[in-house]
């Protein structure tokens, strides 16, 4: 007899153990399973489907490091499920299932210089792999992190970005805002402009880009022009996802399914797909 409990669509139960209001419309939620541990094992860059009946389900990148004992999600209030999540309090139970998606190939990253480029909420999917890299700092080369947001109070967990990350050896953090407000003295301009100004040399360097599609398009183009090999540029593709297991057809692009073969793709893989968004 088929055991429905093992069906991939059935969510497990988890509890919200901490909530942090990062920006006006982004909160970060800490989620643990019933007995306080990590709901399931995952690798950096993978996602989980959070289930909040009767609003429904939605898929989110796990922003905490896979080595941590809990899971963190930075969630922007954008649609029906996310607005319902933003009403949650500490101690509320939710459904969770996963892990979904192909993780960042951290083993290939070893001994390489890494350039992380995150735009707005796009930093969330990168956080998990950044924390993993900074935890196992010696396995990796130089680390440069470029984050861009609309204004200076849109950075998620600004304190960690500016105080924790730069302390790590050979780790530089560069911040930019679209519009300088409230006494912002750092760089003012879009991320592609800032990358151009910083002028990173491509030798032995792997770039990981995540953010709004328009930003990814220009940044990837720029990186290619400055000599980065498309196979060394990792980026993510954002499509509507429903089942998370590559069957419901919604996130099908070319012969790939974003929820199963992605959301992490190399620029080389993306250019191989006939349909591009």
């Amino acid at each position: 007899m088929t055991d429905l409990r093992k069906d991939p669509l059935i969510p497990g139960k988890a509890i919200i153990t901490a909530i942090r209001q990062d920006t006006q419309d982004i909160k970060t939620y800490q989620v643990r399973d019933i007995n306080g541990g990590k709901p399931f094992d995952f690798e950096p860059g993978q996602c989980a489907m959070l289930s909040l009946p009767p609003a429904g389900e939605a898929i989110f990148s796990i922003t905490s490091s896979p080595l941590a004992e809990m899971m963190e999600f930075s969630i922007k209030n954008a649609g029906r499920v996310t607005s319902e999540i933003h009403n949650l309090k500490i101690g509320d139970q939710i459904g969770i299932r996963g892990p979904y998606g192909t993780p960042f190939p951290v083993t290939d990253f070893e001994d390489k210089d890494l350039l992380f480029i995150g735009g707005g909420i796009g930093l969330a999917p990168l956080r998990s792999v950044i924390k993993y890299v900074l935890k196992k700092r010696d396995n990796f080369g130089k680390v440069d992190i470029v984050c861009g947001c609309r204004t200076c109070n849109d950075f998620v967990h600004y304190q960690e970005i500016t105080e924790v990350w730069p302390e790590k050896s050979e780790t530089n953090v560069y911040l930019t805002v679209d519009k300088a407000t409230d006494g912002w003295t750092g760089f003012e301009g879009y991320v592609p402009e800032y990358i151009d100004k910083l002028g990173f040399s491509p030798e032995g360097k792997t770039a990981i880009v995540c953010g709004p599609p328009i930003m990814i398009k220009f940044v990837v183009q720029q990186l290619k022009e400055s000599g980065f090999d498309p196979a060394d540029i990792y980026t993510t593709l954002e499509l509507k996802m429903k089942c998370g297991i590559g069957k419901c057809g919604r996130c099908n692009i070319g012969s790939k399914y974003v929820c199963k073969d992605g959301p992490v793709f190399t620029a080389k893989e993306l250019s191989g797909l006939i349909e591009t968004f």
């Binding site: 009946p53 139970q93 509507k240 069957k247």
Partner: protein, 356 residues
């Protein structure tokens, strides 16, 4: 091979219906579709079994992948959230009188749903369903199963029982132990037949399979379905899709009648604090299929969605599943499309793009 006299069919099905939930082609106001045997018995209107209709209106995929199926009940009171699974109840299904193209379409659905991670909702129905294929000995003008090397007179692989429907009898052969079991358990309805009759029927089947696979008046023998797969960039970027999309109504007829379309949506129904989550059919032609929460829709235009339907079936699915095209040539889409969008027209236009 065993013979069942058609007069005894009703009693045979009645006894079968004690053990199985029997569905069979029933003619209801000039249309033949799969309905339950009980419905036939206790329906006031005169409904009749119709084993001669070439094809049912809807494909029998709805017995393995129903239009909507709830699988989870939830109960939410302030911070507590409880889930309860909805197990499948009732007798296993027995699909009596499907065609070989439908049977072959189950194999394509298996490639999607039974591939890791296995979809138990589909598996529990697939493993318990008995299929009985009625062999075709002629083709209607909208059929083209031979293009996907499917033998309408049935090559006896996959279903539990196969039968020839000729003159006043049904001639059964079993193709699985379940099939053997049924033939032996209900042997009182069957009697064996002279071997000449059996060879005559088999010869007829052979001849029919051969004639349709060689006849070239089917337009798809000129522009083959593999055309898209072999010239995907050129055809993808051609403007045949805008031309076809001019008249497309973006409705769900082609995807919902198609035996191999398997896209679905997951929705919640809430009755105050409790409710249930269910899976239901969805169509890549609907405007909100790829619409994201913040309103952006990568496939905004009709032609992008129409192209996605043909490319997923004839290019992406084969790339992913090693050369099996997601089509069985039943012709339900081109027969029912309100504006006659037809795979032969698409491939003819595609052929035109490649030649010039």
């Amino acid at each position: 091979m065993l013979k069942l006299d058609k007069d005894k069919l009703q009693d045979f099905l009645t006894e079968l219906a004690e053990e199985y939930q029997v569905y069979l082609p029933i003619k209801k106001n000039q249309q033949t579709d799969f309905y339950s045997f009980e419905k036939l018995l206790n329906s006031s209107k005169v409904l009749e079994i119709d084993l001669d209709a070439r094809l049912s209106v809807k494909s029998p995929k709805s017995f393995l992948f129903p239009r909507s199926e709830s699988y989870l009940e939830f109960k939410k009171d302030n911070e507590r959230l409880d889930f309860k699974l909805k197990e499948l109840t009732g007798k296993p299904n027995l699909l009596f009188g499907i065609r070989n193209c439908d049977q072959e379409s189950f194999k394509l659905l298996d490639k999607v749903f039974l591939q890791e991670p296995v979809d138990r909702l589909y598996q529990r129905r697939r493993e318990s369903t008995i299929t009985v294929v009625g062999r075709c000995l002629d083709q209607s003008e909208t059929c083209f199963c031979q293009l996907f090397d499917i033998e309408p007179a049935a090559s006896e692989t996959g279903a539990d029982l196969y039968y020839f429907n000729s003159d006043h009898n049904l001639y059964f052969t079993a193709a699985s132990d379940q099939g053997e079991l049924i033939l032996s358990e209900y042997s009182q309805y069957f009697n064996n037949l002279e071997s000449e009759k059996e060879t005559e029927l088999r010869m007829q089947a052979e001849k029919f399979n051969k004639t349709i696979s060689t006849n070239s008046n089917n337009p798809l023998t000129i522009n083959k379905p593999e055309l898209l797969y072999e010239n995907k960039e050129k055809i993808f970027n051609s403007n045949i899709w805008q031309e076809l999309a001019n008249r497309c109504l973006e409705c769900g007829i082609c995807t919902y009648l198609c035996p191999t379309c398997h896209c679905y949506d997951i929705q919640d129904y809430a009755s105050d604090q409790t409710g249930e989550r269910y899976r239901c059919w969805d169509s890549c032609l609907f405007s909100n299929f790829t619409e994201m929460a913040h309103g952006d829709n990568p496939r905004e235009e009709t032609y992008q969605r129409l192209r996605q339907r043909f490319f997923h079936k004839l290019v992406y699915f084969p790339e992913e599943q090693k050369e099996s095209l997601a089509c069985v040539g039943c012709g339900r889409c081109l027969g029912n499309c309100p504006v006659n969008i037809d795979i032969t027209e698409v491939l003819a236009l595609a052929g035109g793009v490649i030649n010039d």
